[in-house]
């Protein structure tokens, strides 16, 4: 089995993984990072969205071996010192979640969206979240939460606060705009 070294939420792990293991399976089953969830098997729902080197990916469409040497951030790393990340706070304040199953992926995608476009209008927010399905909220409060937080966060705040120093510095908003999210195919 291939051996991989991955930084997940600030801790470095070295593990033998089966080549077919998906990143989300590695996170949940081997690392116990169960805050990230699986909602489908066709990469449609986005519930498993995490960041790979500061960029959102659906972790069901990335093999664990592809994460070798990279930095993964999950929803579990966002709150610091008992304080919610502004996006988490905005989801709470705007009642942007009900059952909460899509929320980890939705928050990670919202961060990516804001890194790319710090002041998105509603249409841009809806487009940016199109790959993340929610069955409870009708999206209106999610859009509201992202709009709300965009006023509080500086450009690039998401990736910047995830940066641990062991991996390349996060992209600036200009670099981010030039880069497309590739679903893990770097």
């Amino acid at each position: 089995m291939p051996r991989i070294t991955v930084d997940v939420d600030g801790t470095t792990y070295t593990d033998d993984v089966s080549p077919r293991t998906l990143l989300v399976q590695y996170l949940r089953e081997q690392l116990g990072k169960v805050g990230t969830v699986v909602g489908c098997d066709t990469s449609n729902c986005g519930a498993c969205t995490v960041h790979l080197d500061g960029q959102s990916v659906k972790s069901c469409s990335v093999l664990a071996v592809q994460a070798d040497g990279h930095e993964v951030t999950t929803v579990e790393a966002l709150a610091r010192d008992g304080r919610l990340h502004p996006v988490q706070r905005a989801f709470h304040d705007n009642h942007a979640l009900q059952c909460g199953f899509c929320t980890p992926g939705m928050i990670m995608q919202a961060l990516d969206l804001l890194a790319e476009d710090p002041e998105p209008d509603d249409e841009r927010i809806r487009e940016g979240l199109e790959g993340n399905l929610c069955r409870c909220t009708g999206y209106q409060n999610i859009v509201r939460a992202v709009r709300d937080v965009s006023r509080q966060m500086r450009p690039g705040a998401g990736p910047a606060m995830e940066h641990s120093g062991r991996t390349p510095a996060p992209r600036t908003s200009t670099e981010q705009a030039d880069t497309r999210v590739t679903g893990g195919q770097s």
Partner: protein
């Protein structure tokens, strides 16, 4: 004795409290069933039939047993004597035909997706791999897909032993019931008679968390974690189905990721996981893939609705006859046969019909079983009647709002006994409609519609109306009894004041996203005068919450919330006697407010928290008073609650592409007293999303072999953020009189109301081309075909589905819509 100062604060009821539940959910600190692992746990995978109807002639598991990591492989034959038959708790008629429903198919499969074998292995991947090594020989039998054909005597049978595909026929007749006149006479004497057939397409609940079950047999009790809406019902049903002592089963619904009726079920997989754990003597976990959910978790809706409406030329309705065919799918699950019957009492809606007759025939097909999906019977009824009211308006060239005003129950006519035998306790349809019309800019949109028609714009504007009510808060037990339901409709709560003054509320409701923890905290904090933060709500575990009937049918607040309030009142009564004893006064001299007992006319008193400590120490209690401040109530509601509202939808239809865009959506709902406006608005939004999705996007489509072709979220169009509009919501508040809080249910209202509003808007936009109906979902293709058919022949376009249920013979591909 010192009194703890309690600062007067604003009341909790009506306050937009941010949810307590969120702190864990936004940080990923969650307890979904699949998150859990136990020592020695093995993983279960289920092999499913790829064919819709076949005899199982052989199953070879030899190879699978040899696969690495495999502990056990089990087939239906292995379980034939052990597994019992999956329960159906709603025998709607005494002669209802109920097929044998094994958790694991034994001799025959009746739908594609039915479980035929299962594997327990060290890892989920190894279990899944071993499924591929199981060899099953199927002898195909004829599939039965179209509900109308299935109901005919010459149809091939789904269950040979029943001798028919018709499970039951349920009838309500207002003349027979004494609640109204004879509908046939009304139709005969009608100045205007409308006959219409509507198709309620099959939907998939599509909760975001796939189902998961974990069973631990290593304790004195079996502990079952399940992603379920109904832990209490599940416990009883495991006991009754498998013959296990009920006291030997504990069921826990931990964090549950949505349900919408889809997890109001006792599933084959719950039984199978239990039986595998029993067999192996070690914990077993089953978690499904999305593709499994889509084919094996129950579906919803799926009815053919034939309606005849009698009216006078001035638009006054006089009679309504409803004839339904309801597709049960292959088996009767927990409440399958009762779902269409729930609509029986709702087709007359808010209108004063003189006569009414409802007939529903429940029919088997070789498809996934249907059961509750958000609204459960009432969306179907509301859709049909609201479409009919628009058809009547068109027929008489009246404004659809005017037709409704002419016929609805006026606010001064409540309580109102309906032709279906219900008593609506309260409502104010005028107020909700007036507000909605104002917000919507009704007249301006009508003016624009006219201009576009006159100009012949390629994009036409339509306005859809839905003035709905529904019955929810399931339910008065006596009513459920009269409908032959297998259980009551009460709910239970216990309120405990701990020695330190903190409060525990035990509820029998089982939230899965609704925010009960927050709302129940508000209710009890208000009642007891304790801080919101000091209240903990315990739920979803039959050990900590031993009695309850769980969460569905918008019942939790109106039944379970009221139980918590009544239990709080009993706590206060108990505390009052202790306080009177300690303060040496009579109970009648004590006032209780803001968490404090005061002796009237003095400055003496004591806080509830002090009484709690006194009860705990028990040093000086009055005669006969037990040393605690706990109280419990089983509350049985006296009536349903009847939320109502007016929904208005403006839709733009591109006549060249068939694409529908919702331009504006306004709804004014009346759900009575609001405990938490934030939560209520969230429920309305989510409900709207699902109702709009039925109108425009979603459909479970089967091919001619009975294979579900919409078995992934790539094919089944759960709307994304770009597919839904911004909703403009408001409320009127007409209190329910049937409960002390004045509350009504809100969980299903948006779903029930919105579907007809959208379809009415679509039809309204293109009615002047000769289109009188567009079948749901109103995909660009369907709208375009309706238009092109109408334009070519001046008649309604031939809609898909002729003779093949969901399959369009001219277009044998999924027609679910476009993104």
């Amino acid at each position: 004795m010192t009194a703890t100062p309690v600062s007067p604060s604003e009341p909790e009821i009506g306050r937009a409290r941010r949810r307590k539940e969120d702190a864990r959910l936004v940080t990923g600190r969650t307890r979904w069933t699949d998150n859990m692992s136990l020592p020695g746990m093995v993983h279960l995978a289920v092999l499913r039939s790829p064919v819709a109807h076949a005899r199982i002639s052989a199953i070879d598991t030899t190879e699978a047993r040899r696969m690495p990591g495999v502990h056990e492989v089990v087939t239906g034959a292995d379980l034939a004597e052990r597994q019992g038959s999956m329960p159906c708790a709603w025998p709607v008629t005494p002669d209802m035909k109920t097929p044998y429903a094994p958790a694991l198919a034994v001799e025959e499969v009746h739908f594609a997706g039915e479980a035929v074998a299962m594997v327990a292995a060290r890892s989920a991947a190894e279990a899944r791999d071993a499924l591929d090594a199981i060899d099953v020989d199927y002898e195909d039998r004829e599939v039965v897909l179209d509900v109308e054909a299935a109901a005919r005597d010459d149809s091939p049978l789904v269950h040979e032993e029943l001798g028919t595909n018709r499970s039951a026929t349920w009838t309500f007749d207002s003349a027979e019931a004494g609640t109204g006149g004879d509908v046939e006479r009304a139709l005969r004497d009608a100045e205007v008679r409308l006959d219409r057939t509507f198709r309620q397409q099959r939907l998939i609940p599509a909760f975001m968390e796939p189902r998961s079950v974990l069973v631990d047999p290593t304790g004195e009790q079996y502990t079952v974690w399940s992603s379920t809406q109904v832990p209490h019902i599940l416990r009883t049903m495991i006991a009754m189905t498998l013959g296990v002592g009920e006291h030997k089963v504990r069921v826990i619904a931990p964090d549950v990721g949505g349900g919408f009726g889809g997890k109001l079920q006792v599933t084959p997989e719950e039984m199978l996981t239990f039986l595998m754990a029993e067999r192996l003597g070690r914990p077993v976990k089953w978690t499904e893939s999305r593709s499994e959910t889509m084919v094996s978790a129950h579906h919803g809706r799926d009815q053919v609705q034939r309606l005849s409406l009698a009216a006078r030329a001035d638009g006054t309705v006089t009679g309504l006859k409803v004839d339904l065919l309801a597709d049960m799918g292959a088996y009767l699950r927990l409440v399958t046969p009762g779902i269409p019957i729930l609509g029986a009492l709702m087709f007359n809606a808010i209108y004063k019909f003189d006569s009414y007759r409802f007939t529903c025939t429940n029919v088997f097909t070789t498809k996934t079983p249907t059961d509750a999906y958000r609204g459960a019977g009432r969306p179907e009824a509301t859709f049909a009647i609201e479409r009919m009211m628009d058809e009547l308006a068109a027929e008489l060239d009246m404004d659809p709002l005017e037709v409704r005003r002419r016929n609805w129950i006026n606010h001064d006519e409540f309580p109102f006994d309906t032709v279906a035998g219900l008593t609506y306790d309260s409502g104010d349809y005028e107020a909700a409609t007036d507000r909605a019309v104002e917000m919507f800019g009704y007249q301006q949109l009508r003016d624009e519609q006219l201009r576009r028609r006159q100009r012949g714009d390629t994009v036409q504007l339509g306005i859809g109306v839905s003035t709905f009510t529904e019955m929810c808060g399931l339910a008065p037990s006596r009513v459920l009894g009269s409908l032959s339901y297998g259980a009551g409709g009460w709910e239970h709560s216990q309120v405990r004041v701990l020695p330190t003054g903190k409060v525990e509320v035990v509820t029998g409701t089982s939230p899965h996203g609704q925010g009960h923890v927050t709302a129940w905290s508000q209710l009890v904090a208000d009642r007891l005068g304790v801080p919101f933060e000091d209240v903990e709500v315990l739920h979803g575990d039959t050990q900590s919450s031993p009695r309850g009937l769980d969460t569905y049918g918008s019942r939790s607040l109106a039944v379970g919330g009221v139980a918590a309030v009544r239990a709080s009142d009993r706590v206060i009564d108990k505390a009052r006697s202790i306080a009177a004893h300690l303060l040496e006064c009579s109970e009648q001299d004590l006032d209780f407010s803001a968490g404090r007992f005061s002796v009237r006319g003095t400055d003496r008193g004591m806080a509830l928290t002090e009484v709690a400590l006194a009860a705990f120490t028990a040093h000086d209690l009055p005669e006969g008073v037990e040393p605690n401040l706990d109280a419990e109530v089983s509350h049985d509601p006296e009536n349903f609650s009847f939320p109502h509202g007016t929904h208005l939808c403006a839709a733009e239809v591109d006549t060249e592409t068939g694409r529908v865009r919702i331009r504006s959506y306004v709804c004014v709902d009346d759900v009575g007293t609001v405990v938490n406006p934030l939560v209520v608005e969230g429920q309305v939004h989510g409900g709207l999303a699902q109702g709009i999705a039925q109108a425009l996007y979603e459909e479970a489509v089967h091919d001619e072999d009975g294979t579900l072709t919409t078995a992934t979220l790539a094919d089944y169009l759960v709307p994304s953020a770009v597919d839904l509009p911004e909703f403009h919501t408001d409320r009127t508040e007409t209190d329910a009189t049937s409960n002390p809080l004045g509350v009504k249910g809100v969980g299903e209202a948006g779903t029930i109301a919105s579907t007809p509003a959208v379809v009415n808007a679509v039809v309204d936009a293109i009615r002047h081309y000769g289109v009188t109906d567009v079948r749901m979902p109103c995909s660009p293709q369907r709208v375009w075909r309706a238009l092109s058919g109408a334009r070519a022949s001046s008649a309604t376009a031939a809609e898909s589905g002729g003779g093949l249920g969901s399959v369009d013979p001219d277009q044998p591909f999924p027609t679910g819509g476009d993104r």
